[in-house]
Amino acid sequence: MTALVDLPSAPTAAVQSPRPRRARPSAPVLAASAVLVLLVLVAAFPGLFTGVSPTATNPVDALTAPSGAHWLGTDELGRDEYARIIYGARPSLLIGLSATVLAVAGGALLGLAAALGGRLGDSILMRLVDVLLALPQLMLALLVITVLGPGTVNTAVAVAIGLIPGYARIVRAEAQVVRRSGYVEAAVGLGLRRRTVIARHILPNALGPLLVVATVGFGAAIITASGLSFLGLGAQPPSPEWGAMLSDGRNYLAVGWWLGVFPGAAITLSVVSINLVGRHLQARFTRRTA
């Protein structure tokens, strides 16, 4: 019994046009890297970028358009939109990052177990992955949220569970190639323990391709995580999480266009930068088998 559809395990892997293996980063990739460094700084030290509190309300200044006093305007409670976006970087990026890390760990574990756990284990795990892949990622995440309830931690777990089946497949395929390689045979021949061979030789080599895929997956995880917050299931309103801010601003589109524009621009800027860098890494490190 084969998988139902030949899912593209890494949909973007085929996207790059062939280029020399050691391609220099192009200008857009360099710019994207700079944006990512800036985003990390903003998320780590928001206080360096604004002296205004993201939660300080000021009813007199409610819903004012962008100006010298409020660069990106104010929301319906008079909170400074720029300060909120700056302070929102940490929750917005952190949920996506935790989800990606969880998904890589879970995918690696499942994939390795399937590749090395014997035929029965393999077919049980891969049938489970088939079932999970039959559900859209967001649908799976919503099912998890229904069980666990809303909240930031649960959102990260939900997004991770949505990503795990695809990642498990990648690791399994890689581990199956690696376990038949000469160096693994040599390590076994030298009398190394099974545990050592898996940890030192199979895991590091099977994980590489997944890490490259996960870079692009990080962008998708941010979109899904902020989407759950937008639906009111992730970070809750007082938090300046970008998806939650958009959900809030959606009610004031007729009187405050800026509330619908800037938080989304922040998400998109982050995801575009991550995708550019991720694809550069992919073009550089993906083994071209075809």
Binding site: M1, T2, L4, V5, D6, L7, P8, P11, T12, A14, V15, Q16, S17, R127, L128, D130, V131, L132, A134, L135, P136, Q137, L138, M139, L142, L143, V144, I145, T146, V147, G219, I223, S226, G227, F230, L231, G232, L233, G243, L246, G249, R250, L253, A254, W257, G260, V261, P263, G264, A265, I267, T268, V271, V272, N275, L276
Partner: protein
């Protein structure tokens, strides 16, 4: 005769795999239901309730919560086989009628989005694969943007521009074609981005094949070679991806329907998730698994139509 038999065997195996996936999805949904912490009667009644213990007991008996898990599971599977998805906790109507009632608007939205996305991808890839460098670079940048923009933002931008500022399209609802335009474009954007990228890659690979030179030597124009010869080679990955992405539109619809205030499966899903209406969530999960399975079986037939090599092996 042996060939006929092998096709029949392949079809039977395929069907069996499809049934296995649906059965797995049903089991998964049941397991999720059991994993919800707390008393299902509590979930059913909601947070603000003054129901007496006697009423609670009666509800538990009515829904069968007091029976052993295995009996509940077999009962659940048995009812599924008869097409009974159960009762919604909150709306107190059969899940199947709730779903069929909301399927129309979502099917319209998803159908329009997929058609738009495929057309946009075809147009951009045929026009720019391996030629017109400036336009090609612009198309690539556009596709990167399309896959990176969250639909809940692009939807808000389109609403702000075309509904609130220019007042061309209605702000919400599902009345008529005008109300379908912005949601369909929003849902189509990321799909068009991915398809455009993959199709251009496929076309560029096909255009490097020797048969392209032969076709050009016969006097066909650049575009005719692309449409008649190269496109068929690039079509299989495009089809696989289109089918897979169509399945994911159920997820995308949750966000897009929320942004545009449209009724549909997405809105129903959000309502079910927010109120922990497990039978309804289960029904929707099974529906999306069934759609995925149906699409992948349809794809297998379409591959045979596109690629003659698959028919002989």
């Amino acid at each position: 005769m042996t060939r006929g038999r092998s096709i029949a065997t392949a079809a039977a195996r395929r069907l069996l795999a499809a049934v296995a996936v649906l059965f797995g999805a049903a089991t998964l949904a049941f397991a999720a239901l059991e994993l919800i912490p707390g008393d299902p009667v509590e979930t059913l009644l909601g947070p603000a309730t003054t129901a007496s213990p006697a009423v609670r007991r009666q509800i538990a008996v009515e829904y069968g919560f007091n029976r052993p898990v295995l009996v509940q599971y077999l009962d659940f599977i048995g009812r599924l086989l008869r097409g009974d998805l159960g009762q919604s906790y909150q709306l107190e109507r059969p899940v199947s009628s709730l779903i069929t009632g909301q399927l129309g608007p979502t099917a319209q939205l998803a159908g329009a989005a997929i058609v738009l996305a495929v057309l946009a991808a075809l147009f951009s890839a045929v026009a720019t694969a391996g030629r017109r460098p400036a336009l090609r670079a612009a198309a690539i940048a556009g596709e990167l943007l399309a896959v990176s923009i969250p639909t809940y933002w692009s939807g808000i931008l389109l609403l702000t521009a075309f509904s609130f500022q220019l007042r061309i399209f209605p702000v919400a609802g599902d009345q008529g074609l005008a109300a379908l335009v912005l949601p369909a474009v929003t849902l189509a954007l990321p799909v068009a981005g991915v398809l455009g990228q993959v199709l251009r890659e496929g076309l560029e690979a096909a255009l490097a094949e020797p048969f392209v030179v032969t076709a050009r030597a016969r006097g066909l124009s650049q575009t005719a070679v692309r449409l008649r010869h190269a496109l068929r080679h690039a079509a299989v990955p495009l089809l696989t991806l289109t089918g897979w992405l169509t399945g994911t539109l159920f997820g995308g619809a949750v966000l897009v329907e929320t942004v545009f205030g449209r009724p549909g499966i997405g809105t129903l899903t959000l309502q079910a998730v927010s109120s922990k209406d497990m039978p309804l969530v289960t029904g929707i999960v099974l529906l999306s698994a069934a759609v995925f399975v149906a699409i992948s079986m349809l794809l297998d037939l379409l591959y045979l139509a596109i690629d003659p090599r698959l028919r002989t092996s």
